[in-house]
């Protein structure tokens, strides 16, 4: 009943999620545990450290999986907040029309016109946010896509008879939007929420890669890559895996989104 891509995507995502949730629990090392014997320079993979160690003697696999927790959490929460905000603004603009619509859509245009990564860099650089604030900043940038989508859906739904019926029965705009309009846009919302997860993970990792996102010692896939940069040549085991996991995660999310879209 599901598109095959949805199944494969969900399986990949489940695998990554299980890895980052369980991995650090099963690992004999802590993500910030330094080994004084191994201090100085990264060491290649060995039976004791499957993905080697970093320059402080910390186990790379444990840090990779622990970093995944932050990256995934930022992606999921960021997408959730962005979708909620975007849905609310899109539904309001689409249903009310007139000045409300014009002002909200002008705001959307403004946010869509400013180059996203540079803007988020400036904000993150000035504020130096903790992870939770970072999530809000990312959500504050990517709510525009769901907002436009929901607005278009709502404008077409508004013409339907059952909305007119609800209005005739005396339902106010808020009740109609929440009870009758939004539930019928959920299909479209699900697709854009899925794509937003990928967008949020990508933004966080780009920010952290450039050194303006989540700050060490808390690892994320992005700042692991940042820290691995100077060792890229001598210790590729530090830089290849984080990027590969970002790729697999975003690919999984995109496959789910694609499959859901095809089914609509």
């Amino acid at each position: 009943m599901f598109d095959r891509r949805v199944t494969v995507g969900l399986a990949l995502l489940a695998l990554v999620t299980a890895g980052v949730v369980l991995g650090p629990l099963l690992s004999p090392y802590r993500y910030d545990e330094q080994s004084l014997d191994l201090l100085g320079r990264p060491l290649p993979p060995s039976p004791a450290h499957w993905l080697g160690t970093d320059e402080l003697g910390r186990d790379a696999l444990t840090r990779l999986l622990h970093g995944g927790r932050i990256s995934l959490a930022v992606g999921l929460i960021g997408a959730l907040v962005a979708t909620a905000v975007g849905t609310a603004i899109g539904a309001l603009a689409g249903y009310m029309g007139g000045w409300t619509d014009r002002i909200l859509m002008r705001l959307t245009d403004v946010m869509l016109s400013i180059p996203a990564l540079p803007l988020v860099l400036v904000i993150a650089g000035l504020v130096r946010p903790a992870p939770l604030l970072l999530v809000m900043i990312i959500a504050g940038l990517i709510w525009t896509a769901p907002a436009r989508l929901v607005r278009a859906e709502v404008r077409s739904l508004k013409q339907r008879d059952y909305i007119a019926a609800a209005r005739t029965l005396g339902a106010g705009p808020l009740r109609i939007i929440v009870r009758h309009v939004v539930p019928n846009t959920l299909g479209a919302v699900a697709v854009s929420a899925t794509l937003a997860v990928g967008g949020a993970i990508m933004l966080e990792s780009a920010l952290s890669f450039l050194g303006f996102g989540v700050q060490p010692p808390t690892p994320t896939w992005g700042n692991l890559l940042n820290k691995a940069g100077p060792w890229a040549v001598s210790a590729p085991w530090l830089s290849i895996p984080p990027g590969l996991l970002i790729l697999v995660t975003i690919l999984a999310v995109n496959m789910i989104g694609e499959g859901l879209q095809r089914r609509r």
């Binding site: 400013i114 180059p115 990027g243 975003i250």
Partner: protein, 317 residues
């Protein structure tokens, strides 16, 4: 008629630009420490000196007054001075524009060519193995983080194979086309991958819609060759919806490929942006963001113009 439409669109862009300037202004001035933060971090700057600097830049006046003054000077072309170098922001940006346009131009040109070919082939073979491979690759291309792709390419082609230089615009003292191309190859590839992936998907979708239409059946029934049908009849219609997204991506070239330029040490707008981040050089940051936003707005209008030319049914009255 066309001119009036164009003037109308340009006038309509003014409130959006004002909104953008307000958002950027507020971002810098409402951040903790505000624009003075760069000096406040410096222990050798005394409180009295801080006050003098604030006075000189007008930073002790009410926010709306500051915004008005800033907007006025932006409008007359006075974009201020870089805190890092002390040189005019516009001069700093102009110096970096050349390399950025070169890199962006080559990458976008390659992406356009590739995505047209891939999109048309995928649509012509929809559902078959060629389509599956192209669509699968496109999805992977969309999901690859650029910074990681750049690192992997550097590792493979510069470190292991030693074929390509790992960064920079050219080898110092060497003025040869081959050398320039070798330096362009990796950053342009990195930039082109995600763009090609995205554009080819739009072109594929547009082609599939176009190929289902009556005039295509008529053309085939008349005995036209498949290549003529695909390129002359279908592609012309298929590209119309893709034009908007292509225009937006082209506009984003102006604000620089921040990550790609930073990794490959490409001396363009993007690496100027990253350098300015380190020094909190907010006049330069604001300048680049304003220019990038204006480019996006103009690209939207340009896309509408192109779409109207390609599709006579879209009329601007």
């Amino acid at each position: 008629m066309m001119l009036r439409w164009l003037l109308g669109r340009l006038a309509g862009a003014v409130p959006t630009l004002l909104g953008i300037s307000l958002v950027l202004f507020l971002v810098v001035h409402l951040a903790p420490g505000g624009p003075m933060d760069v000096y406040a971090d410096n222990p050798s700057v005394t409180p009295a000196a801080l006050e003098r600097i604030a006075e000189a830049y007008g930073l002790n006046r009410p926010l709306p007054v500051q915004y008005g003054l800033w907007l006025k000077s932006m409008l007359v072309g006075d974009w201020g001075y870089s805190i890092r170098t002390g040189r005019p922001v516009l001069v700093e940006m102009a110096e970096r524009l050349g390399p950025t346009l070169l890199l962006g131009g080559v990458a976008m040109g390659a992406a356009l060519l590739l995505s047209l070919v891939l999109g048309v082939v995928a649509a012509a073979r929809a559902g078959q193995w060629a389509d599956r491979i192209i669509s699968g690759l496109a999805l992977v291309g969309l999901s690859i983080p650029v910074f990681w792709l750049a690192l992997v390419l550097q590792l493979v082609f510069s470190v292991w194979l030693g074929w390509l230089p790992s960064g920079g615009l050219q080898t110092i003292g060497v003025e040869a086309v081959g050398d320039r191309l070798a330096h362009l190859a990796m950053p342009a590839t990195v930039l082109a991958v995600a763009t090609t992936a995205s554009w080819s998907r739009y072109i594929r979708a547009g082609m599939i819609t176009a190929l289902g239409q009556d005039h295509i059946r008529t053309a085939r029934a008349k005995g036209m060759g498949e290549a003529t049908v695909l390129v002359r009849h279908a592609l012309r219609n298929a590209i119309i919806p893709a034009v908007s997204i292509i225009a937006l991506d082209l506009a984003s070239v102006i604000s620089g490929a921040v990550i790609t330029e930073a990794i490959f040490g490409w001396p363009g707008i993007g690496s100027l942006f990253v350098q300015s981040m380190d020094g909190r050089d907010y006049p330069v940051l604001m300048g680049i963001l304003m220019m990038g936003s204006a480019a996006v707005i103009l690209a939207n209008i340009a896309a509408d113009l192109v779409q109207a030319r390609l599709d006579p049914r879209i009329r601007h009255v």
